[in-house]
């Protein structure tokens, strides 16, 4: 008797589990960077609080007025530099490793460090160009979101029905969330296409991903949405447990719960990537817009053609490409 073939979400979960080194590495980088970003704030706060009896209301509870007066302290501890830098460095780090992560999931094997970084470097500019295009596409969505918020605000103020503005705002948020998920899914597929097919032209990857998404929208969106939902549910559950069950002074427990959530959120994002990779490989050939102009390349070790790290620097120098 053979086990039934798992769906892409199940297969993706298995893939994340088998290649969990990736998960732990990304989590470690996330934690270390956030830790470094926290240090300046913690040092300023420590200077104010560590020898003060005035810190006590913050230990046993969370008195907002004490927190407020700490925020207004002349040394402005919450404006200490570091936090934004940490977030930005993590963002760049994730941009850099996306190619390598996808390569691992496509091949479903552990890469050597050199192979991994070659893949990262090889696909970096493609991921970067896709990021720029994504940001461009986010602009109209942001404009739409802003218009919807203004509209719902106006309804909240002017409409005869008191609730109309609120429900329009809720519906708008859901619609914007939906659009963002679809956009991300499209670009996920484009990145996957660029890696699997070793496609240098991101516009072709985007076009292929668009066709794939259009023809398989329901299954792909359901794949992405389920995992997002799981991430949000874990966050809500953790917050509920933390607020209701964890004493205000149980810092270690708070830390543990926070880290479980942070880890799960990274895992969920990788789970989406892995599930998409599984789906991509389980599907038929990429539907071609013009059959004569596109032939699926072999799914073999592509990074033999990928640039080495020195080459990557040359690419930096010769960017933008023709």
């Amino acid at each position: 008797m053979t086990l039934p073939h798992p769906g892409p979400v199940g297969a993706g979960a298995g893939l994340v589990w088998r290649r969990q080194r990736l998960l732990w590495w990304i989590y470690a980088v996330n934690l270390v960077l956030a830790g470094l970003g926290t240090l300046p704030m913690a040092m300023r706060t420590g200077t104010i609080l560590n020898h003060s009896l005035g810190a006590r209301p913050l230990v046993k509870g969370m008195d907002v007025t004490v927190l407020g007066s700490l925020a207004m302290h002349p040394s402005r501890p919450f404006l200490a530099p570091g936090s934004g830098i940490a977030a930005f460095v993590f963002f760049i780090f994730m941009l850099f490793v996306t190619g390598g992560v996808l390569k691992v999931y496509v091949l479903d094997r552990t890469l050597t460090t050199e192979e991994f970084f070659q893949a990262c470097g090889g696909f970096f500019w493609r991921c970067f160009r896709l990021l720029i295009l994504l940001l461009l596409m986010l602009a109209p969505i942001a404009a739409l979101a802003s218009a919807l918020v203004r509209w719902s605000d106006k309804l909240s103020s002017d409409a005869a029905a008191a609730w109309l503005g609120f429900w329009v705002e809720v519906a708008s948020l859901l619609a914007i969330g939906l659009l963002l998920m679809i956009l991300r899914l499209w670009f996920d597929l484009a990145e996957l296409h660029a890696v699997v097919e070793n496609e240098p032209a991101v516009r072709r990857s985007l076009a292929a991903a668009f066709r794939l998404l259009g023809r398989n929208f329901a299954s792909l969106f359901w794949l992405y949405f389920r995992i997002s939902l799981a991430a949000w549910m874990v966050l809500a559950l953790a917050l509920g447990v933390w607020i209701r069950l964890v004493p205000a002074d149980a810092v270690s427990t708070s830390f543990a719960i926070g880290q479980v959530v942070a880890l799960f959120w990274i895992a969920a994002r990788l789970w989406q990537r892995a599930s998409e990779a599984c789906w991509y490989q389980q599907r038929g050939p990429v539907p071609a817009a013009e059959p004569n102009t596109f032939s699926p390349p072999p799914l073999r070790p592509h990074w033999t053609a990928a640039p080495s790290i020195p080459l990557l620097f040359r690419r930096f120098l010769t960017w933008p490409p023709r």
Partner: protein, 656 residues
């Protein structure tokens, strides 16, 4: 208010002669005084008949004002407030809003024609002196803005002798703005406030009649109001008066007559959607009818309103003095009309709520308590809100702290939600910390650095100043002082100096030194424990015996520094590692003080103001110093901060 508003159809109008019927249905404040005398010096008697046109958002009215000249001298000039003219782009009010913003409107906001408002005086007659409409001239006593039309002045041909009455007959037309700064309409809702020509106050030998400013409120004489309002029959009404008659007119309108005594302003509200909730509360002044005009979408907040208004009535009655009126009307503005909320009028307050507000957020309670408090500090103790805003807003913010603490518990009286807590005293202090030294309390309302400074100082700093004074005098003395101040000055116009006199008399202390710094000055109060140290007396020995708790002798040192210029006597508590505590009293006169002790114990900690009474201290964290560090709070905050950065980092990485 809180950080942050036709003349009747003649044929159907009720004759004013019906007014004598008033006493039958309501208790006038005079009846409670036990003397048979009016509670206030009734300088004015307004009789107004007004008709609302809900479609045009206008009010047409006829006002008859009888002014009793109690000034002791002949008067031939009379200034009147025309507040609604503030809602025009060239007014002083709008200039100031444009420059600094005000509640609900940010600085630099564009002019919105919906906010246009006007009060036009159609005719102005003086009994026995004829039609003086053409003699009216706009004046601008506070600035150089010749376009400001919020004060009009009329010179009479014949002066009014001392002790005589003069009767003004004024026809006027109001165009109401879409709700802003307390007044106006929103859909079918109308808050008709500052809507009629109101005479200035003869005060300290001159007319006191300021222009309407972005940061100022009002000032008027006490008197009697008989107001008839005609609105469609579908409308639910509320006002500052007792309803004394209601007539349904053949044209589908209704005319409701109100009467009120010993108040100094009159506003009314109308909305066909209001749910009228009626309740009552009985205190030392008798039974008070509670009218809650609730917007339907806030129905779930009904009990919160009733609970807080009864609790507040009870505390004010027990602590400060009886509430002498027989009614209090609470107006809950509908959605979109928030700018009409959070405002006080005599016996009528506008509150504010939302359908979703969870119980622990206490916004509904805070606004309701605050506005009711103004019945005492503005309504009865009628200070000049233009010139000494701290005396109504600030004293009221202090009593707000006391009442909310009593009703909801100290430490969580302003917020108790999902583990987050805040008390009202702390929020007042935070407001003070945001502008600790820009303006003294005693400054005309429109002369503050900014709209924010006005709010921070008149509300937050004054409350903090009075909480600190309570720390000095004791809670009971402070309560007695406020009781005395209320009973002595209710239905009059006291000043800050009257308040000081009362505080000094009740406490038996000279408080000028405090007043000069806290009320008239901008000094910042900040003490710090600069250093603690325990040094072995045998430090010079080459081979001293090992340190042994309870046996080694130390020279202990505590250095306290007055960082700010505000001088205030403080306690300093020193805790030693053998459990012993020593309290020192320092007058704060010098910039620093050093305490030294010879003990077989080390200093564990030293703390300035160990009982946490000096709320004005701008930095509580440096008030103490411990020998051993305790990093629990830092670790906790760092843990939360860490997680927030991780989460934000991941959110940013979602883009890749």
């Amino acid at each position: 208010m809180l950080s942050p508003l036709r003349w009747i159809a003649g044929a159907v109008a009720l004759p004013l002669a019906m007014v004598p019927a008033i006493g039958g249905g309501s208790r006038s404040p005079a009846a409670d005084s036990g003397t048979g005398q009016p509670l206030s010096t009734r300088v004015v008697h307004y009789q107004i008949e007004a008709r609302l046109d809900p479609a045009r958002k206008t009010v047409d009215a006829q006002e008859t004002l009888t002014y009793h000249n109690l000034t002791g001298q002949p008067l031939d000039v009379f200034p009147f407030h025309l507040y609604l003219n503030a809602f025009q782009p060239t007014s002083t009010f709008m200039r100031e809003v444009r420059r600094d913003g005000t509640r609900g409107t940010s600085a630099g906001s564009r002019w919105d024609p919906k906010h246009y408002g006007v009060i036009e005086v159609k005719s102005f007659q003086v009994e026995g002196q004829g039609d003086l409409t053409r003699q009216m001239e706009f004046i601008h006593p506070d600035d150089d803005n010749t376009d400001d039309r919020t004060v009009v002045q009329v010179k009479l041909p014949k002066p009014i002798p001392p002790g005589a009455d003069v009767v003004f007959r004024i026809a006027f037309h109001d165009q109401l703005p879409e709700v802003l700064e307390r007044t106006g309409y929103k859909r079918d809702f109308f808050m008709v406030a500052q809507w009629f020509p109101k005479v200035g106050v003869w005060w300290h030998g001159a007319w006191n009649c300021h222009q309407f400013h972005a940061n100022s409120e009002f000032f008027a004489d006490f008197g009697v109001y008989d107001v008839k309002v005609t609105v469609p029959q579908t409308y639910v009404l509320g006002s500052c008066g007792d309803e004394v008659a209601r007539v349904r007119n053949p044209d589908g309108t209704q005319t409701v007559a109100y009467h009120a005594e010993d108040i100094h302003d009159f506003s009314w509200t109308a909305d066909p959607h209001f749910h009228l909730v009626e309740d009552s509360w009985t205190g030392s002044g008798g039974t008070v009818k509670i009218h809650l005009l609730l917007s339907p979408e806030h129905e779930r907040q009904r009990q919160r309103y009733l609970q807080v208004i009864k609790g507040t009535l009870d505390r004010f009655d027990r602590w400060y003095g009886p509430y002498p009126y027989d009614r209090i009307t609470l107006v809950d503005p509908p959605h979109g009309a928030g700018d009409a909320g959070g405002m006080e009028y005599p016996t009528l307050i506008t509150c504010g709520s939302t359908w979703w507000e969870p119980k622990g957020l206490r916004g509904t309670e805070l606004v309701t308590e605050h506005e009711f408090g103004h019945q005492y500090w503005y309504g009865m103790v009628a200070t000049n809100e233009f010139e000494e805003a701290w005396m109504d807003e600030g004293i009221n913010s202090y009593t707000e702290v006391k009442v909310l603490d009593s009703l909801y518990g100290s430490g969580r009286s302003a917020l108790d939600w999902w583990g987050l807590t805040a008390d009202d005293s702390g929020t007042q202090r935070l407001a003070y910390l945001s502008e600790p030294d820009t303006d003294p309390l005693a400054r005309f309302a429109w002369k503050y650095l900014s709209s924010h400074a006005y709010g921070a100082v008149t509300y937050g700093k004054t409350a903090t100043v009075l909480l600190t004074l309570e720390g000095l005098l004791g809670e009971e003395t402070m309560r007695r002082a406020l009781h005395t101040y209320f009973m002595r000055y209710r239905f009059t116009h006291p000043t800050g100096e009257d308040f000081l006199k009362t505080l000094e008399e009740v406490s038996g202390q000279d408080l000028r030194w405090y007043y000069n710094q806290a009320v008239y000055g901008t000094q910042v109060l900040d003490y710090e424990v600069l250093r603690i140290d325990s040094d072995r007396v045998d430090w010079y020995e080459k081979n001293p015996p090992p340190e042994k708790k309870g046996q080694t002798l130390y020279r202990d040192l505590v250095l306290v520094h007055r960082k700010g210029d505000f001088i205030f006597p403080v306690d300093v508590e020193i805790q030693f590692d053998n459990g012993e505590k020593v309290r020192e009293r320092w007058d704060g006169g010098d910039r620093w003080v050093r305490y030294t002790y010879l003990k077989k114990a080390k200093v564990d900690s030293a703390e300035v103001d160990p009982d946490h009474r000096v709320w004005l201290d701008a930095n509580f964290f440096n008030n103490s110093r411990t020998r051993e560090p305790d990093s629990r709070a830092t670790r906790k905050l760092a843990t939360y901060w860490l997680w927030i950065i991780q989460f934000l980092s991941q959110a940013a990485a979602w883009l890749t």
